[in-house]
């Protein structure tokens, strides 16, 4: 309910802005509604709540899974870069629809970096790519003649996630430990048998 209200508010702001600009386009008559003699200017991204019709993001992807059930060895896994896509979906917020402006691409490949990790006995690390969803409105405006066009975007941006924890049913003399050297941390987990 709240989400719909906010989305409606954002739409209303943009639509009213468009109408305002559009109504003042009297002096110059251009063949193409998307022509702008003063040049289109991009406004800032405005983060908004995601409209439901733009859908979700891809589900997470497990890149690799490192389990160390050996009490005698620790695993050191080197850093890794995977290439994943940013996915964008969008719709117009304004009546004026100008496709040839510098809108963000629908898809874009970006590198995702996973740091090296040491996995001690009874620990596991999953290296996972997940997609963070963010929605934003983007507006282009023209001063001469005064008009604007706006879109709302849903962006699914891939991020690296390292999931770690303790292997069940694994008994070693030491507490499980995960080391992430680049982040300068050793993470140990106390073994407590009465906690599942």
């Amino acid at each position: 309910m709240r989400r719909g209200w906010l989305y409606g508010l954002v739409c209303a702001v943009f639509v009213s802005a468009s109408i305002g600009y559009g109504s003042s386009v009297n002096a110059v008559v251009l063949d193409d509604d998307c022509e702008c003699s003063s040049g289109w200017q991009a406004g800032p991204r405005m983060v908004i709540l995601c409209p439901p019709n733009l859908g979700g993001c891809p589900r997470e992807r497990i890149v690799d899974s490192i389990e160390n059930s050996s009490c005698n060895m620790s695993l050191l896994v080197p850093p890794m870069i995977v290439r994943e896509r940013i996915y964008r979906d969008w719709e117009y917020l304004s009546d004026l629809e100008c496709n040839s402006l510098g809108w963000p691409a629908d898809s874009e490949v970006v590198p995702i970096y996973f740091p090296a990790v040491g996995v001690g006995p009874c620990a596991f690390v999953d290296r996972v790519v997940e997609w963070n969803r963010e929605c934003f409105a983007l507006e282009y405006f023209c001063e001469d003649p005064e008009k604007s066009t706006a879109r709302v975007y849903k962006e699914c941006r891939p991020v690296a996630d390292m999931e770690f924890g303790v292997l069940p049913d694994c008994e070693c003399p030491y507490d499980p430990v995960v080391v992430v050297p680049e982040y300068g941390v050793i993470i140990t987990f106390e073994r407590v048998k009465d906690i599942v």
């Binding site: 709240r2 589900r59 997470e60 992807r61 497990i62 890149v63 690799d64 899974s65 490192i66 389990e67 059930s69 009490c71 005698n72 060895m73 620790s74 695993l75 050191l76 896994v77 080197p78 890794m80 970096y113 740091p115 090296a116 040491g118 001690g120 006995p121 596991f124 999953d126 996972v128 997940e130 991020v159 690296a160 996630d161 390292m162 999931e163 770690f164 924890g165 303790v166 292997l167 069940p168 049913d169 030491y174 507490d175 430990v177 080391v179 050297p181 680049e182 982040y183 300068g184 941390v185 050793i186 993470i187 140990t188 987990f189 106390e190 073994r191 407590v192 009465d194 906690i195 599942v196």
Partner: protein, 366 residues
């Protein structure tokens, strides 16, 4: 292990003071740091007892009852003189005033600082989780949050719980809670198997993993191995013992020391139980609207693509088929995702209570 649990929790404990009301003299027992100590609680007590015996030169008369005061500094607290073990009201009033929790156990009273009980990782995690449960009791509340959206005290508790990781937090990054489903199965021939991640549930949305289940092996990554000893020597766990002192003004025995530690341990056990309960409630909240079966399930309850993945896993790993299954169980586990700069760290939520983050000076593992 139990002794380590206790001593790691009380590593900032510097003194345990034992006072007999009827005497004004005091003695001191101090346990020196022993990083290699990994033995049982009885061994700990035995050693404490020996050290106590070694230090016991001032023996007092036998008063009627004992008061054990745990403090975090070596100076005996002035309020000792006010205490009367045979007057519980006075004792509890003084304890309350001075920020101590009073416990009565057999022939003695034990006063333990609330800070000692409440500043441990377990108590801290318990407070954080309780807050999250309260926050998510609102049906519409999203299961992700920023640090700034937490009450300042809880945000500070979270920073402390994360230790050195807190310095790596992404400003405005979102923490989130989600559930991972593990699968345990048993074949009719008695072979049991376990797949750590078969699905995740986030914001009531279920994602089944239908890529090949590798059974936890490494994928194509190049991996090197090192002997555990060397690894641990460089980075691993170092048992940390606090410096324990026992001030007393009368004869005490090792049982008093053990009882004092047991009280702290017992308090932690209560907190752990509370944490388990909170995590269970959070799990129910996170899965409330998720269309996923948990517990013992029939294969037919799994989505068809998951059945296919399970069949492939059984064929590859055990040369078996779905028909060979006698039992399948799905177990949920709540994870928390922590937004660091450039990366998320995720771990089972209950680990917040028993995770320790140690900074390392070196930047590479050689």
């Amino acid at each position: 292990m139990y002794d380590r649990v206790i001593f790691m929790r009380v590593k900032f404990l510097t003194c345990v003071q034992v006072s007999r009301i009827s005497s004004v003299k005091q003695g001191t027992v101090r346990l020196r740091e022993n990083p290699k100590e990994q033995e049982g609680i009885m061994s700990t007590i035995y050693k404490a007892f020996l050290v106590w015996l070694a230090c016991t030169e001032i023996m007092m008369s036998q008063p009627s009852s004992t008061i054990v005061v745990v403090t975090t500094n070596t100076t005996p607290p002035a309020f000792l003189q006010e205490l009367r073990a045979d007057d519980p009201k006075i004792l509890q009033r003084v304890a309350e005033r001075e920020g101590f929790e009073a416990f009565q156990k057999e022939d003695a009273w034990y006063l333990i600082p609330r800070t000692l009980l409440s500043q441990g990782q377990i108590a801290r995690a318990n407070r954080i989780l309780s807050h999250l449960l309260e926050r998510f009791s609102d049906e519409e509340a999203p299961t992700s949050f920023t640090l700034d959206s937490l009450p300042p005290t809880i945000a500070e508790e979270m920073r402390q719980a994360l230790g050195d990781l807190a310095t790596r937090l992404e400003s405005d990054g979102r923490f989130s809670l989600y559930v991972k489903l593990q699968l345990r199965g048993r074949l009719k021939n008695g072979t049991s198997f376990y797949v750590r991640s078969v699905a995740s549930v986030s914001e009531s949305r279920v994602s089944w993993y239908t890529d090949s289940w590798g059974g936890g092996g490494l994928s194509s990554q190049e991996t090197t191995s090192k002997p555990t000893d060397a690894f641990l020597r460089q980075f691993g766990i170092r048992t940390e013992w606090g410096l324990l002192c026992f001030h007393y003004n009368s004869r005490i025995d090792g049982l008093h020391l053990k009882t004092a530690m047991d009280l702290i341990g017992g308090y932690e056990t209560t907190q752990r139980e509370a944490i388990q309960q909170t995590v269970r409630l959070l799990q129910e909240r996170l899965m409330r609207n998720a269309p996923v079966p948990i517990g013992t399930v029939s294969v037919g309850e799994l989505p068809s693509e998951v059945q296919a993945t399970l069949a492939g896993y059984l064929r590859e790993k055990y040369n078996a088929s779905l028909a060979d299954l006698s039992e399948v169980e799905l177990t949920p586990q709540v994870f928390i995702s922590v937004p660091l700069k450039g990366l998320y760290f995720s771990f089972p939520l209950e680990m917040l209570a028993r995770m320790k983050v140690i900074p390392i000076a070196t930047q590479r593992v050689d």
